[in-house]
Amino acid sequence: MKHIVYKAYWNYEKEEEWLNSMSAQGLALTDYCWVRYVFENSEPGEYIYRIQFLEQRAKHPQSRKYIDFVESTGAECVATYLHWAYFRKKAADGPFELYTDIPSMMRHYRMIRAFWIPLAVVEYAAGIINIAVGTMPPFSLVNIVLGALVTLLGVGFTLMIANLTKKIRALKKRQLIVEA
């Protein structure tokens, strides 16, 4: 039976935790698009899920090649969306991690951060322009509200960027002593 859940996540690691907690309850993700998650019944805890940001869009040949590689190691790509890929592997086959050393983990976080930075800048710019236009005569409430919403989005992106920066810093510190 299919179960459809609408949910939005800012943080892919929280999203991954949620998918794994759903899987523990016997609901295995089989498809995803924007805020729409499709689950199917499975044995509780049958699958481990991992979400990954791809350097290129999922349809790009370079990404296809990578997804193919991951699948050749016994994992399955259940969904892709823009730059994101959703993988799962049977828990019975042992632990499932995509990144197992600090340099590759840092690289992954850096790619995600590099993707969000221009978006945050665009949101702030659009917000400021709208608020500026709205507050100049003739005053426009629509522009002010729109500007405020867009700026808020920019703040959300900034918090995410700060969170990633914190993680990269922690890894850098760890890297001074160990490699994994």
Binding site: Q52, K65, Y66, D68, F69, V70, E71, S72, T73, G74, A75, G94, P95, E97, L98, Y99, T100, D101, P103, S104, R107, H108, E179, A180
Partner: protein, 107 residues
């Protein structure tokens, strides 16, 4: 001898050791896990990045006539072998000093 190289990561060192026989990605993952008795489990993302870097460096090379992209096999090159040997020399020094200084205290 090539110029002194930095310490190799565990992943790279074990990948080089694995590729003394032709192997595809999943084979490397299984072999590394076996060699380290389950201690080193390479993630597919980490392994993919390492393979591409080693290919660029010319330390490994794709095997001729691999059966398709998916089961592409790789093998170590003479340069890769030299790098692994240099690493063994570096590790031996660590081991010798470690045993001499810490191991000696216990005796």
């Amino acid at each position: 001898m090539p110029e002194a190289q930095g310490a190799l990561t565990e992943a790279v060192f074990y990948i080089l050791l694995s590729l003394t026989q032709p192997m595809h990605g999943y084979g490397i993952m299984q072999n590394v896990s076996e060699l380290s008795r389950g201690r080193v489990v390479l993630g597919a993302g980490t392994l993919y990045g390492a393979i591409n870097t080693l290919l660029e460096k010319g330390w490994i090379t794709p095997c001729e006539g691999s059966p398709g992209e998916r089961k592409k096999e790789y093998t170590i090159t003479p340069a890769g072998r030299r790098a692994a040997e240099a690493e063994i020399a570096r590790l031996s020094e660590l081991l010798e000093n470690g045993r001499r200084i810490l191991g000696g205290e216990e005796q």
